[in-house]
Amino acid sequence: MGEKMNLDATRNVLIVDDSKLMRMMLKKIVEELDMFDLIEEAENGKIALEKLDNAKFEIILLDIEMPIMNGVEALREIRLRHKAKVIIVSSLAQIGSTYSAEVKKLGADGIIDKPGGALDPTLAQKKGEDLKHLIKQLV
């Protein structure tokens, strides 16, 4: 269905993470924002780039550690060709880490820890809110 729709006119989010569990949780958070028409998923950087060639995305949530093409490589490519705002969602990119410096240099628009604590509603809530807040700031 993705190809037929006129995706350029819609507001789209791309979630890039090799863990389906993580994509499910991120998708849930983005859905709660109720701001986007389409939420697409990709399980590595390569698939993400393919999807980016076919449609316009406003926000990309990008994991770092992924097979085939990792987030840092993907970010480098994305910055060469796309305007989408990229939020790095990774525990590797904690503030002050080498990764955090590198992704900033490559042009990441935001860095955030992975959402966590599915079992703990308050913690899940808090982490979810942080991400929602960041997305709202960027669009």
């Binding site: 569990l21 993580m22 097979p67 604590g117 599915a118 079992l119 899940a124």
Partner: protein, 550 residues
């Protein structure tokens, strides 16, 4: 969050976490035998990293401290600040075991459950990370590193895994399976009967229904087969583990090679094979492989294990390149223990001598070592294999090593076959090895060195007669069309001629009984609806024979 979403989250969490555990285990076990490639190192790091991410995102606040430690360790080892040596490998393997218990209990309870092996596991990881390696040695002895304790943990895991399944008695499963096999034969017979009636328009509807029915039966049969068959992969992982533990405790460096670990077999067979194989591998490392100073030219001790399906049989081969079985020693011991009389031991054939080690109470090691002498002897190995209806053979050469070949019949399944009606005998050939069957009159043949050949893939294949090949008297050819069947296995081909018809069918084959098992190329028998006996040809063996003849 709604319940349905939570259910999904738990399910996804379980499958991803277990998948990463498995990947970690496989690669850690591989790393004992070879240097991991960069891609493999990245993959193992990613799995450890994902385990931390997964346990964190599900909200296991205690467990995440453990997965964090493991990630740090593998990360340090990727950077080269810690070597992935036996100690670290064992600690990380132990970590995956502990993690699996925690995962399985937690997933069942729907909350984080910390098991009692959590603490010790964590402190070992911490200590390695801090480089206080000297203290660990002593603790290793208590902590799972002794293989009796390891096997306890594994058994625990087995139990937990079993809880996730509904138990069905294997006899009723067998019965169901047999019935479903018969059902397929019946459906095929019905189909043929319909074909003979001809395709009158009034039969169209019935034909469609019949087609669907046959398909459904095949699907059901496939599912039932699947219920019974599991991959040997899990078993292989346990065996690799046992090999590593044994080689370490004996301070022998070995390379453990496994082939065919994706073969599948009946779950009861796989379960029953675990102990015998474990014991045999320990034996090979303990008694077969020499101390490195005693094998200066041979280098690292090599142990090869392979699983191969031959027809309905599972063939397991275990070999080492050690000192081989000592005939003299075995004989001496057997006489001592009065297993044989002293009168004429020289008359015994080599394989009879080797099979003496299967006698209860036999043990050649002067001092029963703590590794292989665990009360389970080769007698138990043979007994367990015999209980499966299998047999074990030994071939050994001094200073070259020992080879064990185990044949387990009936990793059963229905098989699609082409039945050659070479009256009065029917032969079944598995259709996967058949390229085509053609009337000989339609083929161009050439005479090469007095033998008729057909052309296939730019090469000349000699035509061999079915009955001659099977050393049987030639069949009645009068009034029958001569046919050529072309069999292929990898890049080799055999052309066989016979006189008669052929049909497609599916059967469950029985083991040939004693009388028939003397026929070298027959690997199974069955009976069709008209009570004709059908012999299943062992195509693999035909090719072996063809190779030798060439």
């Amino acid at each position: 969050m709604d319940d349905e979403f939570l259910d999904e989250i738990w399910g996804q969490f379980e499958s991803e976490a277990l998948e990463h555990c498995k990947n970690c285990e496989d690669l850690l076990l591989d790393s004992a035998n070879k240097d991991l490639s960069k891609a493999e190192i990245d993959s193992i790091f990613r799995s450890f990293h994902s385990l931390k991410g997964l346990t964190g995102s599900i909200g296991f606040s205690e467990t995440v401290t453990l997965t964090h430690l493991a990630e740090d360790l593998i990360s340090e080892s990727r950077k080269g600040t810690i070597t992935l040596d036996d100690k670290l490998r064992t600690a990380l393997l132990n970590f995956t075991d502990v993690l699996k218990t925690i995962l399985q209990k937690s997933i069942k309870e729907r909350k984080e459950v910390i098991t009692k092996n959590f603490g010790p596991c964590k402190s070992v990881l911490e200590e390695i990370l801090q480089g206080k390696s000297s203290k660990i040695k002593e603790r290793n002895r208590v902590l799972n590193f002794d293989d009796t304790i390891v096997s306890e943990t594994l058994n625990d895991l087995d139990l937990i895994e079993e809880e996730r399944f509904t138990q069905v008695s294997s006899t009723s499963l067998d019965d169901l399976f047999q019935k479903s096999g018969t059902l397929i034969s019946r459906a095929n017979a019905l189909k043929r009967a319909f074909e003979q009636v001809g395709s009158a328009p009034e039969n169209d509807y019935a034909n469609v229904i019949l087609e669907k029915l046959v398909n459904d039966i095949q699907v059901v049969n496939g599912r039932i087969t699947d219920l019974r068959l599991i991959s040997v992969n899990g078993l292989v992982r346990r065996l690799k583990r046992a090999a590593i533990d044994t080689s370490r405790s004996l301070k022998k460096t070995i390379k453990f090679n496994v082939k065919g670990d994706n073969e599948r077999a009946d779950r009861s067979i796989i379960r029953a094979l675990a102990d015998p194989l474990m014991h045999m591998i320990r034996n090979s490392i303990d008694h077969g492989i020499e101390e490195s100073k005693d094998r200066p030219k041979k280098g690292i001790g090599k142990i090869n294990l392979s699983f191969q399906k031959e027809g309905d049989n599972l063939v397991i081969k275990l070999s080492d390149d050690g000192r081989g079985l000592d005939k003299e020693k075995i004989l001496k011991k057997a006489i001592e223990k009065k297993f044989i009389s002293t009168s004429n031991p020289k008359e015994l054939e080599e394989r009879d001598i080797y099979s003496l080690i299967f006698k209860p109470g036999f043990s050649t090691a002067e001092n029963v070592s703590s590794t292989s002498g665990r009360g389970v002897g080769m007698d138990v190995v043979e007994k367990n294999i015999a209980l499966l209806g299998g047999k074990i053979e030994i071939y050994s050469e001094k200073n070259k090593g020992a080879n064990f070949s185990i044949l387990i019949p009936g990793a059963v399944s229905t098989e699609e076959c082409i039945i050659l009606k070479d009256l009065p005998t029917f032969y079944a050939v598995p259709s996967r090895s058949v390229q085509w069957v053609k009337n000989k009159s339609d083929l161009e043949t050439d005479i090469v060195t007095g033998t008729e050949h057909i052309r296939y893939n730019k090469s000349q294949i000699p035509i061999q007669n079915l009955n001659k090949l099977l050393s049987l008297p030639s069949s009645n050819s009068e009034g029958f069309v001569e046919k050529i069947i072309l069999l292929s296995l990898s890049d080799k081909a055999i052309a066989i001629n016979y006189f008669g018809d052929f049909i497609y069918d599916e059967f469950v084959f029985d083991q040939p009984d004693k009388l028939i098992s003397n026929l070298p190329f027959v690997s199974g028998t069955t009976v069709d609806d008209d009570r004709n006996i059908i012999f299943r040809l062992n195509v693999e063996r035909l090719f072996d024979y063809d190779d030798q003849a060439a």
